[in-house]
């Protein structure tokens, strides 16, 4: 399955070389759902949560800037699964809308994936070319805006944009912290809910406890996954700080 992804992934330029990785979290979720021949809904999502997390953890080489997105989706999937395991667990409005948004984004991504497949069949097959170049009749024709001042300010602006672009990856990584904190809160809440609900357990308690214990273990693993990604040595030069709160500004 991963190989099919790699095959298609011919990058322009030499900057990116990704092997055996999913382009993004949505693609992974959809493939897991497709494998079960299900469609996108809360039931199917709760069913693929374990597999998703396993895949994410098995991903040794995470592109740093995408790690946060993968973990973020994991957190929402866990919420959905928590809810299916512990019906008493009440989601906050924010969490509800997070779940809702994930569903909508997955459905939209599903369509984009179809579009992409359609385009991949025709891209570059029947290129319509422009009129052939005639030997140009060169006429020296400077313009009013051709001044040294305009030239230097144009270059100045272009270089400022270039520098801004180069700096972006560092800014993106900061979202990691928020997600890590979110995971902490989730573990805490589920654990609390569990102790409270223990009294209500009846005859089938043993089986349920097992489910929940493994689920908690799962949460722990995800948390570790997040930490791993953040400390990946390939990206040792990227600083991750605890201080950032706001979302990065992409300009």
């Amino acid at each position: 399955m991963e190989n099919s992804v790699t095959k298609m992934h011919v990058r322009e330029g030499a900057l990116h070389l990704r092997t055996e990785s999913y382009e993004g979290p949505f693609e992974l979720v959809l493939e897991l759902i497709d494998k079960r021949k299900l469609s996108v809904n809360e039931i199917s999502l709760s069913q693929v949560t374990d597999d998703y997390i396993e895949h994410v953890r098995g991903q040794a080489k995470f592109p740093m800037e995408d790690a946060a997105q993968f973990i973020g989706v994991a957190a929402t999937l866990l919420l959905i699964k928590s809810k299916s395991l512990i019906p008493d667990l009440e989601l906050s409005d924010e969490e509800e809308s997070g779940v809702d948004e994930l569903k909508r984004r997955l459905m939209e991504y599903e369509r984009v994936r179809d579009m992409m497949r359609e385009l991949s069949h025709i891209f570059g097959r029947q290129v319509m070319v422009s009129a052939g170049e005639r030997a140009p009749e060169v006429v020296f024709a400077p313009s009013k805006d051709l001044t040294l001042h305009n030239l230097s300010s144009a270059l100045g602006e272009a270089l400022a944009t270039l520098e801004k672009e180069e700096k972006l990856p560092e800014a993106r990584v900061r979202t990691m912290v928020t997600i890590e904190e979110m995971m902490d809160r989730l573990v805490e809440r589920v654990a609390k809910k569990l102790t409270m609900s223990f009294a209500e357990f009846s005859a089938d308690a043993k089986e349920r406890v097992e489910v929940i214990v493994s689920f908690l273990a799962l949460l722990e693993l995800v948390k570790q996954g997040a930490v791993d990604a953040a400390q990946h040595d390939t990206f040792a030069d990227i600083r991750i700080t605890n201080t950032s709160t706001g979302l990065p500004n992409y300009g």
Binding site: V112, M116, F123, G124, M128, G132, R134, R172
Partner: protein, 190 residues
Amino acid sequence: MLYSVKTMALTTPALLEATLFASGEALSKARILKLLDISEKELEGAIGVLHKALDGHGLALIETDSELELRTAPDATDVIKKLRENELSRDLGKASLETLAIILYRGSATRGEIDWVRGVNSGAAIRSLTLRGLIERTEDATDKRRARYNPTVDALAHLGVRTREDLPRYAEFIGTMTEQEEKSVAEETV
């Protein structure tokens, strides 16, 4: 201008064709309006007529929201390849293709909208598509600081289609999209 275009024997669609041919590159509709001294409505009509007049010809008119260009017809590829072998295009990566699909089917998209749908950062894909001239950056109408990306004539030309509407399953894909788009929180990146 002293000479009026309209008094000449050629029809507006034919003049449009001649102008595009002579320019050899994509011309903005705004510039064509001035050159031919016609109204937007007249241009629209001329585009429709020229599209039809080129049916069965070796040339085709490519139209984006803002530009027009005359190109070879998609079915001429085999012969053209012998003449212009250097224009063989390299394949696009999956990330770029997804990003291009979003921009093409929607007509245009902001960085936030693309990231929202793809669930990953699309910066590298956008840069690569921009470098290859398949999309171009414009100012967002509502928020000038925000970049909006539009497909270029070259994007359509690489797909062998004359307009966005000719894209595969266009009507089907467009159908439910507007609904999702409205709901999407565009600015926030994941």
